[in-house]
Amino acid sequence: MFDPSLTRGEKISVSLTFIVTGLVLLFLITPILAIIPLSFTADSILSYPIENWSLRWYRVLIENPVWAGVTRNSLIIAFAATICATILGTLASIGLNSRYCPKPGVITAFLLTPMIVPVIITGVASYFFYSKFGLTNSYAGMIIAHTILGIPFVVITVSATLQGFDMNQQRAAYSLGARPFYAFRTVIMPQISPGVISGALFAFVTSFDEVIVALFIAGTEQYTLPRQMFSGIRENLDPTIAAVATVMIVVSLTVLALAQYVSARAEAKRSS
């Protein structure tokens, strides 16, 4: 376990570091996991120990049309924003990584600003601006805003894969007779797809988890899951929130697993 050359003092400090790491990990994970059992309580208060178990809060969740509605909204908006951000972001990354692109650094920095500017500013600015064009209280407004928030992630991940991509492959495809679009489809796209997929996952999670812009520009018709949770936490923190949280934890674990799978597969392809 220890490097044999370590002194006793070092072994003690290394052990202490491991212990601290363990505690930090507990700090990172337990609060999230602690919410799960509470969703299975039969009582209506959120506290341990749980005496009676039941699925009643999940029933509330399913039967209450509000939650179904906001879930549907979240999915519609997140999927639409992900598709837009992924397509547009991928195209832009290809342009940005071309050697003919003028000032790629400046353009990239500009496209990444939605990630840097505090979301509260984006939210307020969108509220003022979108309201002039009737985009507040509309799905279109939400999708546009979330697309913009997702674009930086797609640009970052796709650019990263493109930088690792050997542009000679494109030339090789041309020399073998492939026209540009055919070469893109058969040679470039399959190889940058891990970057595109992880960019899409980031964009999806960004939209699915976004609440501040929703606070400002979504009407009740467009309330998303996080927006509804925000109200729930603020006004009436009951076990339904724990149930929703549990569902969302499962969703995020799935997305995480997907992301890990994609990067592991890309890694395996690179090194096999």
Partner: protein
Amino acid sequence: MTSDQNFLEFINIQKTYDGENLVIKELNLSIARGEFVTLLGPSGSGKSTALMLLAGFEPPTSGTIRLNGATLNSVAPYDRNIGMVFQNYALFPHMTVLENIAYPLRVRKVGKAEAAERAQKALDMVQLGQFGDRYPKQLSGGQQQRIAVARALVFDPALVLMDEPLGALDKKLREEMQVEIKHLHENLGLTVVFVTHDQDEALTMSDRIAVFNDGRIQQIDKPITLYEKPANQFVAEFIGETNMLEGTVAASDAQTTRIQLACGASVQATTVEPIATGARARLSVRPERMTINPSSDGGNLLPASLVETIYHGANAMMVFRLPSGETLTAQLRAGNPFLDMTPGTAANLTFNLMDARSFACA
């Protein structure tokens, strides 16, 4: 006016990337059908750029490239029907070996069965018939190289380009592949333009070699001519090893040039181009054409003393110092009794008029 002699032509080609510096200053070159021509030169000499122009990845800044009588300038790379083997092979990592080779056939909408058959045949040709289902990453460098060759040949291109294809291989494998590519060239009657910076490779494989330097062809000739009769100092030094000695021209006519060397000796060399009397000139003699302590005085005599002897197995290099301080190497076969000379020993070095060439100092 198409002829097999002018199958491929570069006519007054110039190329600049930045609008400031010409990477290719002037290129005129004709290649015959079925010929194996190597573009040889140091990096930055313009040889790879010439290949890029030919493949269509870069447009020439001015001039015309013609293949089989047709101008190539405005033809897109994918319409040129030119096979290319890339330096790093550029095999598609997400496709199997067979898919890689079938790719140009797929592009050309060749039927599935026929494409598979032709790809397999190409794979057999490079002796990797059983590796069709592997991915490129699972193969060794030499195997990948052969796949790249098979892929560039499978669609019967009019011309095959090879951009330092053997650069990444170790010495032994490289030599094997040189022979193999040469055989493919002969057996299939391919026209090949091969780029390398390795002169041994160029000498081994080529019908003709174009030596590039500073954006121009310095000399284009058969390997033997290039070695024996270099047209200028650059070629003499770039191809093989040579001794260069400086001096002043005493007399120069169409056949011989007499040079008064810095070391004091006066020697005669074959004239490459007549040089004005009194001008600075250089004398070039290959180390293996040097003789030590001759029985008869051939006229070109250089007194020197031995500095050291370096063994290379089959032969050895003896380094001598001339009175002027210049050093001179002589290459001797192993077993030659002169190799036992101790450093410091004085010796007379001679060479034949035919083996010495004179170049004007730039």
